[in-house]
Symmetry: C2
Subunit: 318 residues, 2 copies
């Protein structure tokens, strides 16, 4: 018997009941040998992820190398996803750009394709923007899209964008656009920041790493949108399911420890080329190794080291 | 009489004689009230700059808010410039993007429009890329453009791109692409780095600030590509002319001190909104104040403070 735990009822997300949650994979983008995106392979990957532990997919994020593609290429991918039959409620689509007008165009497409959300970076070229400037950017995006169906998720990833999205900015945006601003993906890795975000009413917080999935759920967050889910979604999905079950908190904690162990191993290699190499091996599909600059493929020795560690750790892609 | 100076002959740039040099303005981009770029106003601004101290124009750079525009908007601006009659030899066009395919498309257009150079940022979304990854990015740009007329200037601006372009990367690129790689704009503000770049044979170095124009010229550089030239090109042009004249080094030094004083004053305000406000006042053209987020206009009090300081310093826009 497990010890008595405080959670007697299945967990839910009372502060933001209607909307996506759970384990979302920040999907890798398969490419052809000329580095063009392979939309058919991406859709196959998304289906496979949904069948193997993922509640949803976040295509065209950092892990998806979105900002290495042109807007035209990104829109072509969104069109293919819209036509794929994957339900829009399973999709939170990355639509951020340094360019205001590009962000507007892609965010509008996310809405019209019926995606559950649009994940929007701050404009990331100009550094140290004022809070007023960031507020103006997101205001322009929301007003120019001009569609009541928009559910915008703020993408906080200061290590990559170099432009943080602070709590006071979120509060200003939530006050002004309480329907359009739906939540955030926090890839900072800082649990304290995620907890502070999760305290904002009606604001859905996804951890950007599965390493913090359970703590974020316990703090009122709704799930994770993560790179790792491309290869370790099964166990992460089990963790989320345990959290949702009555009386399974100890099981959830055990699973979190294992998820954390696996994720830390992945973190010790270049994530995108590393996971692509793992999928290339799993599916005997060499094209999975293609990446766009500035990423580079793992060298053969690096790849062998990764595979050795992955196998030793018992990470088995289903 | 001036004291005897070591420079008896007019200065030239022996290591890289054929190519653009002098004072290039990183042109501000005028916008309509809906924040669409105003190509006609931009061309008028370029003509005015060329008539008032500039040797050339570098449109669609950081100061031109290029990365806040869509690729379509940027190409429209390049088309308008191509049709304007401004000689291509006067233009070094910003064509950088986080996206490989966007950078290729814009760089190709810079070549076909006859621009003297394309100024290309490193891919600036993914941080801490490997040198191999950056080499692969620029290699792909050069090979995909595939045009012997390409003269690519590397845009080193670590404070903004957060992705430095190091000397060893430049040397690798120069070895592999000795014709396509033409030089760099160094906006780091670090004279030591500019001097190291200028030591590379056949590599044209532009300082990213007029504050270091004379030291860079003395180190073998060819000029500057600067924001400040939008409003202080006249005196900067005088400085460059003095450098080129025989026996006028002391005059050049005096002018450098004055240019530095004026530039430091500009640096004490948000540069792009500040210079746009100065031009709005000068030409009684309120639309000059339009900026794209994340930039914001100066508040009225801030603008008054800027104008007060500018007037007190004797900075007069011609």
């Amino acid at each position: 018997m497990q010890p008595a735990v405080v959670d007697e009822k299945p967990h839910s997300t009372p502060s933001a009941p209607n909307g996506p949650g759970g384990v979302f994979a920040a999907a890798l983008t398969p490419m052809k040998d000329d580095l063009a995106p392979d939309a058919a392979a991406l859709i196959a990957h998304c289906r496979w992820l949904l069948a193997n532990g993922c509640d949803g997919i976040a295509p065209m994020g950092t892990t998806g190398e979105a900002n290495s593609f042109s807007v035209g290429e990104r829109l072509t991918i969104l069109d293919a996803l819209a036509d794929s039959g994957i339900p829009g409620e399973r999709l939170i689509v990355g639509t951020g750009s340094a360019s205001l007008t590009d962000a507007v165009e892609m965010t509008r497409r996310a809405v019209t394709m019926g995606a559950a959300g649009a994940l929007v970076l701050p404009p990331f070229y100009y550094k140290n923007p004022s809070e007023d400037g960031l507020f103006a950017f997101f205001s322009e995006v929301i007003q120019r899209v001009g569609d009541a169906r928009l559910r915008l998720y703020l993408y906080h990833f200061p290590q990559m964008s170099a432009v943080p999205i602070g709590i006071t900015l979120i509060e200003r945006l939530m006050t002004r656009y309480p329907h359009a601003i739906a939540g955030a993906k926090d890839s900072s890795g800082e649990l304290g920041n995620m907890i502070a975000m999760a305290r904002i009413p009606h604001f859905r917080v996804f951890s950007g790493t599965e390493r913090l999935l359970l703590p974020v759920l316990e703090a009122g967050g709704v799930g994770c949108i993560t790179a790792g889910a491309n290869v370790i979604a099964s166990i992460t999905g089990q963790l989320y399911a345990a959290w949702r079950r009555s009386g399974a908190l100890a099981e959830a904690r055990r699973l979190q420890d294992e998820v954390t162990r696996q994720r830390l191993l992945l973190d010790s290699f270049p994530m995108v080329p590393g996971m692509k190499a793992m999928l290339a091996r799993r599916f005997n599909a060499p094209a999975w190794r293609n990446v766009r600059p500035p990423f580079v493929r793992l060298a053969a020795a690096q790849e062998a080291a990764l595979f050795g560690k992955v196998d030793e750790a018992g990470i088995a892609i289903p």
